[in-house]
Symmetry: C2
Subunit: 404 residues, 2 copies
């Protein structure tokens, strides 16, 4: 048996007999010859032989044949005199055709058959971009002296707000799924100064929108010994640049992102100056402004009113990053003194007790620090122009969807 090669490697093997593994992407039979398009993890390959049509689309196959140059074949080479062996029983017809340029089915139908829908090269590209973006995030932060951490997803108290918590029966006592690694990454600043985590977070979102998921992948970072939130924003810029770069998107990320104050953002969006937050339409208006005025797909909004930010926020030193008019990053400087935490909780009418083990850590010398979180699915959806975050994750979880 010859060595397996990938579809994309065929041009380097012209004249040789090789083995391809993959799926029957498409078959076509003419009078004297049959064609088969094979799909593997690297792409598509054209296969020509005498009798190739016995295997329905999506059957997993092994194909041996001779590689010849052919200008009109994908990559400039194809397999001829091919023999095909099925590696599993003939595939049933999928609920939608995977060989068409676009999947002709609604999103709900595709999500019901997610393991199949993502075989489509176009849809697969979104998941590949997620993997690449996560790689770019990690590589950037590794190079900046950050250490990866792994924190608990089962917690005793809410980190963000009590509103959208999933309850868990934890050996007979109540626990919750972590809405973020916020407290843990702050505590770990005391150990490593600079930490990051790539992991799932959980929000029992009651709303069914195109930008919310009940579980999403959060790219979290936190760093100590900062002057203020602008030190954090510089790391955000580096991380985004690394993510865009690895994802190979045709998108210029400038030397820095423009920034506007929250008050200016409201003015740009012609919103009520007393609004405590930006509505989605406001974010779109600010995004358009950034493109118009700065030619930037990204724009920071800084200094959100404290009332709408979590209790651990240090004064007005907060920011969001909008990407094409949607918030994909939120961050800021945090409180770092024990007394400030006690006051901040009291000021919000929150009890100290559930936060005791977190707040106590600030008695032992925590430097000024801050951090941020990037929603991976939102980032990828914006990057690829997908209308719904559910297209940027293989198996989305929402109010109605728990399978597959």
């Amino acid at each position: 048996m010859p060595q397996r090669v990938l579809s994309a490697e065929l041009p380097a093997h012209v004249g040789e007999t090789v083995l391809l593994h993959g799926w029957v992407h498409r078959r076509r039979t003419l009078k004297t010859v049959s064609f088969l398009v094979l799909r593997d993890r690297a792409g598509l390959a054209q296969v020509v032989g005498a009798d190739l049509d016995g295997h329905p689309e999506e059957t997993a196959v092994a194909v041996t044949g001779r590689v010849v140059a052919n200008e009109v074949a994908p990559g400039g080479a194809e397999l001829v005199d091919a023999a095909v062996t099925a590696l599993s029983p003939p595939a049933q017809p999928p609920p939608f055709d995977l060989y068409r340029p676009e999947v002709r089915a609604g999103l709900a139908v595709q999500l019901d058959a997610a393991p199949l829908a993502f075989r489509h090269p176009g849809r697969r590209a979104a998941l590949a971009a997620s993997a690449a973006a996560a790689r770019g995030f990690r590589a950037t932060l590794d190079a900046l002296g950050f250490t990866e951490i792994f924190t608990p997803k089962l917690v005793a108290a809410a980190t963000e707000s009590g509103a959208n918590l999933f309850g868990v029966d934890y050996f007979g006592r109540p626990a919750y799924l972590a809405q973020s690694p916020q407290f843990y990454k702050q505590l770990m600043v005391g150990v490593f100064e600079r930490v990051y985590e790539v992991g799932p977070v959980f929000r029992a979102e009651p709303h069914d929108t195109g930008r919310h998921l009940a579980q999403y992948t959060s790219l979290d970072a936190e760093l100590g010994f900062i002057a203020d939130h602008r030190d954090v924003m510089r790391v955000v810029h580096a991380a985004i640049r690394g993510m865009v770069g690895e994802a190979g998107a045709p998108l210029a990320v400038g030397e820095e992102f423009p920034a506007v104050s929250f008050a200016d953002a409201l003015r740009i969006a012609h919103a009520d100056p007393d609004e405590p937050d930006l509505a989605p339409a406001d974010e779109r208006a600010v995004g358009e402004w950034a493109m118009r005025e700065h030619g930037s797909e990204f724009v920071f909004v800084t200094g959100y009113p404290l009332a709408k930010r979590p209790f651990y926020t240090a004064g007005g030193n907060s920011f969001d990053l909008l990407f094409r008019g949607m918030e994909i990053v939120t961050g800021g400087q945090r409180l770092h003194r024990y007394d400030d935490y006690v006051a901040a909780l009291a000021g919000r009418g929150l009890p100290l007790e559930p936060y005791r083990s977190y707040v106590d850590a600030f008695r032992y010398g925590m430097p000024p620090h801050g951090g941020f979180a990037i929603g991976l699915e939102r980032f990828v959806a914006r990057l690829l122009g997908l209308g719904n975050v559910r297209e940027a994750t293989a198996f989305p979880r929402d109010r109605t969807r728990l399978e597959p």
Copy 2:
């Protein structure tokens, strides 16, 4: 203000005035001079000045001074004429001294104060090794053409067994925390051929042992178009080699790991030949045998009896990898035909319905495939000779521990 440098960089700055950031690790006052050992993310630095003892241990500080060469200082350089500024209020005394060679407190006391205990350089090293091992795992698999995936942790049915499931209230209906990404990684073989995930898994372990956690980090991989489980074992070997290499452990990983059959493993351990699984003592005996006979810290045991392996296992094509006499990896070839899944579930008396969306995917052409999972905390504990997996994770979760 001079540029900040790290403790480890001092030797490159002799003669310069620099800024250090970090924590007061230890202070010592002699008659005319005071010493201070500063700890930052890179290590320790010796600081000498006139009046440095005003800041208790663990206070976060900024220190400016002149770098001079000093053979007896860590790294061969120290800071003199130093001025210290506290960046937060004076630290309270920690519940145990962090400047001693070992933390003098029981594990439970340390875990209660985990954010502090992991500031100790020795304990911090275990978490740094975790980060390095995960990096080595990913880099190895990236180079082998694997794609990272992010799968749901909220699921409708058990993946491994119904015994140790955490129940979640999912918008009013029952759901569970995923015990593994098993089904999802298999389904994604149909998309990317080769996939991996680094993420949390959840087991409601009723036992309080030194090798079990209620949440641990699972390094999962799955690959298609394999001949049998030995193709999977080769990837395990590469991954472990990459992990040991990145963690910088003084441990030789040979060109391949020795392997024994399950029957031979029972014989080596002098166990009853009818035993369906290896007990911890048996694993230790096999580990000692591998060191004695092959000089290897690692040994594969292959062909476990099917009764003790999950229903998706393909015949006897299963394996565990023991590291210093403890199972840290489990894997094997999986079933890949729809009919085989239906038969396997029926054979175990399991209903098909909860597994429908998983099993159905095998109607659409799945190649022969297999995979494995490495427990990160167990790996690091074995690598560093830690007696308890709780020493290899910052915030362990077990039957009694939900905080910090």
